[in-house]
Symmetry: C2
Subunit: 255 residues, 2 copies
Amino acid sequence: MIGLFDSGIGGLTVVRALLQKYPNVNFIYLGDTARFPYGNKSKETVERYAVEDAKFVIDKGAKMVIVACNTASSLAMEKLRKTYPGIPFVGVIEPAAKMAVQVSNKSIGVIGTRATVGSGIYDTVIHSLKPQIKVQQKACPLFVPLVEEGMFSDQITKIMVRRYLTSLRQANVESLVLGCTHYPFLQPLLQRFMGNKVNVINSAEAVVQEANDLYPDLFLETPDIHQKIAFTDTSAYNDDLAMRWLGKRVEIISV
Amino acid sequence: MIGLFDSGIGGLTVVRALLQKYPNVNFIYLGDTARFPYGNKSKETVERYAVEDAKFVIDKGAKMVIVACNTASSLAMEKLRKTYPGIPFVGVIEPAAKMAVQVSNKSIGVIGTRATVGSGIYDTVIHSLKPQIKVQQKACPLFVPLVEEGMFSDQITKIMVRRYLTSLRQANVESLVLGCTHYPFLQPLLQRFMGNKVNVINSAEAVVQEANDLYPDLFLETPDIHQKIAFTDTSAYNDDLAMRWLGKRVEIISV
């Protein structure tokens, strides 16, 4: 059983990437919708929430946990590994950073929430992999509410894309890391704005590939498939969204 | 001591209205920034959070509690009164509804979060006061993040005002109730869009007046002034915002 958690529904882009490659894998996903969003919260608070989220999926049988949330991956990995030493945790930061470094020589752009960008984590990880690369970050705090509203190609979203990303386009970055699990929904818009020469790195796809490389046994098909999504807050709106995003029926429970 | 709580920093508009009229009153405000926002959450979750928030300000000595949050005022008043029978609670809904009814004969517009609008509470309260009045509601989910970003008169905010409020303007409503404590920051923009004939009702001012009418003793000046703001999540960003909004120094603690 693979465990995944996120502050809300954004991490479902990771579930979607998982199911696209491994449709019959066992997983339990927790979306902490009752305390969403994590992006503007402090390190201590995000750590506390992440530890509780991980406990839930581990109690449900997860043998490995994908932290499908950039904010928690930025701020809480150390705390998670210390709290649950027997469980491997895979965050979304390193896999996306690696993928970006593979296709870039000079400069990488990173977009994310205020918390992720403020943590400077992508900068640190990318420089540890390729010290000469220039990393330009930009916080895009309105993208999450715009995605939550389903405004994937709205006029407003286009204006905000232009406003947030103009400096990165002018800097001629070679890749753009989508440092927030909500952002893959904006990928077509972002790709169009940045131009075809820029590699847009989807951290959801990157983390699924990394987890499979590290723990292939957990991705084997079993005759008895368990696929569950849990939310800490009940909302028909979220249930609907989950079904539409994943394009298949999975069991949804509330906790 | 007057207690106030909100899901975050929006309720500080109520503190601001309180201090403008009663600069030397004793108060304790709790902003539940660690679990912000409440606007898209379920009734059960909002009730649970509101009960915990109220406990905090009551434990600090509050003899009366202003629920400075429209979502909690819509969903949790009954639960609060049952849980703490000895404490009077004043929500933001009734005072704003009363004020709107006083200046309207035919139709009132109400804007708020998805949770507040979905609860239909303004409709119920306004009709109980003046059954013949037509109430038109509109959820404006992006206004809260726009206010949190300080985009009070941004191009984006203007586009969203037009998009959300055109139907209310076309309906010729006589008053517009700002059914969310964040919205007073958009009051100039909203007033301009709706026109000068429309009474824009600020629920922050309405609730302070109502609380003073009901419990005047708590508004008396004391020689020993205690004015405190507490946040459940520490963030220099929030502390800054609080100081700027209130225009004076108050003690800020984190819990």
